[in-house]
């Protein structure tokens, strides 16, 4: 056999062996393995050697991947996203969207919301002309933390900036009058809804709006219950009493599920009295409260809420628009 033939045979053998081994090498990413290590922002900033911008992009793409591969953004994933965006915005504070991207997901605990607020405050520092960062901050302060004063202060910043929606001053006035009711929450949520094309964000907001709709219905039933008590002198034994018997106060009960829910997706939820005697829909299992208020009794359960949200594919454009 000639040396040239031996060389060719050796080359083919080496290529085949390498290809065989390569095909069997584990190709899962760190994210697939559940590794969530993110270096401290200032360490990576010092080690960037002038390549801050491209490193920021690298960590941003990691954040997009983390959000993309997880069907449900649980508390740990949201925390991981927050750390990634913290690195991104430390390396390149002039990025725009990542601040609000993190703020949307970091809602699983009061601590997370406060971390998200720190990111939004950094966004405001570097983009003082963008009303959306003030709006998101105001939303977090109102919706999750129940701090109307801080929310109003943030919205004042939004109102001063060009492009903010025309109704913001009215919302601001309501906040200033301390009317932290679900109507204000609904206004905030509807603005967020019109200002995004991101399907996963839309699903999350629509979930919250569904809860508000059910709360409106529950409050309607509360009023009917009061009328029943005044009429009969005693309380209802079940929610059905409101539409039964000679003392009925309602023709029929409202649907315990969101009206927009297609019949095929309905779960057969019912109205019932909970342990404390409050009227609740089994769809939510609890009455709706708009914020944590920093107390354990707060019933807003973000983990349950997020589990109900199945994420759809991410849209091409996620920029909030002027509502």
């Amino acid at each position: 056999m000639s040396p040239k033939l031996i060389q060719v045979a050796a080359l083919i053998a080496a290529v085949c062996a390498t290809g065989w081994v390569h095909a069997r090498l584990p190709n899962e990413t760190r994210t697939d393995r559940g590794e969530a290590f993110v270096p401290a922002p200032h360490v990576i900033e010092a080690a960037s050697l002038g390549f801050d911008a491209i490193l920021a992009d690298y960590y941003w793409l990691q954040a997009v991947q983390v959000a993309g591969v997880n069907d449900v953004i649980d508390a740990d994933t949201a925390s991981h996203l927050g750390k990634l965006v913290d690195v991104v915005t430390t390396l390149n504070p002039y990025v725009d969207h990542p601040y609000r991207f993190a703020a949307v997901w970091m809602t699983h605990s009061e601590e997370q919301v406060r971390d998200a607020n720190l990111l939004l405050e950094r966004a405001i520092e570097f983009h003082p002309e963008d009303w959306r960062n003030y709006f998101y901050l105001g939303f977090n302060q109102f919706y999750y933390l129940g701090d109307f004063e801080a929310a109003a202060s943030a919205l004042e910043g939004a109102v001063k900036n060009e492009g903010s929606p025309a109704y913001l001053p009215r919302l601001l006035a309501r906040l200033k009058s301390q009317k932290g009711d679900i109507d204000v929450a609904e206004i905030f949520l509807r603005q967020l809804l019109v200002s995004t094309d991101d399907e996963s964000e839309i699903a999350k907001i629509e979930g919250a709006l569904d809860e508000i709709e059910i709360e409106h219905k529950a409050r309607h039933l509360d009023r009917a219950r009061e009328a029943y008590q005044q009429l009969t002198g005693y309380d209802i034994l079940s929610v059905g009493d409101l539409i039964r018997g000679k003392h009925r106060v309602l023709q029929k009960l409202p649907s315990p599920e969101p009206d927009s829910m297609p019949a095929s997706l309905r779960r057969g939820s019912v109205w019932e009295l909970d342990r404390e005697g409050r009227i609740v829909s089994t769809y939510l299992g609890a009455r709706y409260e708009v914020h944590y208020s920093g107390i354990e009794s707060a019933v807003f359960k973000p983990d349950e809420q997020s589990e109900r949200q199945t994420k759809g594919p991410r849209g091409q454009e996620d920029e909030p628009r002027d509502g």
């Binding site: 960037s48 801050d52 992009d57 941003w60 997009v64 996620d318």
Partner: protein, 258 residues
């Protein structure tokens, strides 16, 4: 023939020699591939697409042009000594100082030419991708050019008295320190020990500050770049280069080639 003409002749010769180096073309090719790959990388994100594309392009330009400046610069003097051609050159009415400056000027011109080619590739890729291009991008690239001028001076300085391997290590080390010097300075300022603060100040002034040439974020995000800052960066680059070349010339003039 005056001194400037002799430096020009040496620079011209160094340039012609450098462009025959295949390593240059390989690095240039890689840089163009990297600049173009920004298009693919940017598609992984659904926002900030143009910013990612241009961050990638400017990072590739900086990385490869600094690589070329260092890895060609470190062999500048050594190759002449190794091939004994330095004796032929220095036997002519050419001083060692002129030789060193000519070598530096030739390589600086070479890396600037390569920088211009990479900038051209960056502009084409940006335009094809629809990313905005402005004066800020030009300023950022000019500032990279100033950084390269200093890096070539540093590589020439080390090349004047040590082996290419050590010159590479020293040059890369100094370039890294140049990007860390602001952090080291800030760290020193936080110390409660006065000596540490003074030392940190001294080291900061002694070491190059390459962050002054880094305006990537400003260019990509369309942020204003202070013209005074550009002027200071220019003066700083010229000053640091002159200091480094004078030091290099002082060492080189005492060097024994036997």
């Amino acid at each position: 023939m005056n001194s400037l003409s002799r430096i020009y002749a040496l620079a011209n010769n160094t340039f012609r020699e450098a462009i025959r180096n295949k390593l240059l073309y390989m690095l240039l090719g890689f840089s163009v591939v990297m600049i173009s790959s920004g298009v693919v990388l940017a598609t992984l994100s659904y926002v900030e697409v143009h910013e990612i594309l241009q961050d990638m392009g400017l990072a590739a330009i900086r990385f490869f042009s600094v690589g070329i400046a260092i890895f060609v610069g470190i062999g500048l003097i050594h190759n002449e000594v190794d091939r004994r051609t330095i004796f032929t050159i220095l036997s002519k009415p050419v001083s060692r100082n002129e030789f060193l400056v000519g070598k530096w000027a030739g390589l600086t011109f070479t890396v600037w030419l390569l920088l211009a080619l990479m900038a051209g590739a960056f502009a084409i890729v940006s335009l094809l991708a629809g990313a905005p291009l402005g004066l800020d991008h030009l300023v950022a690239i000019v500032l990279i050019g100033l950084e390269l001028m200093v890096v070539v001076a540093i590589a020439t300085f080390f090349s004047s008295f040590t082996t290419p391997m050590l010159a590479a290590l020293f040059s890369v080390g100094l370039w890294m320190i140049g990007h860390l010097s602001r952090d080291l300075h800030a760290l020193g300022q936080q110390s409660e020990v006065g000596t540490v603060t003074t030392m940190a100040n001294f080291v900061f002034l002694l070491m190059p500050d390459f962050e002054v040439f880094n305006k990537t974020l400003e260019a990509v995000h369309g942020l204003p770049i202070d013209s005074g800052e550009i002027g200071l960066a220019f003066v700083y680059a010229v000053g640091y280069t002159v200091c480094t070349l004078i030091l290099g010339a002082m060492i080189f003039s005492r060097r024994d080639f036997k």
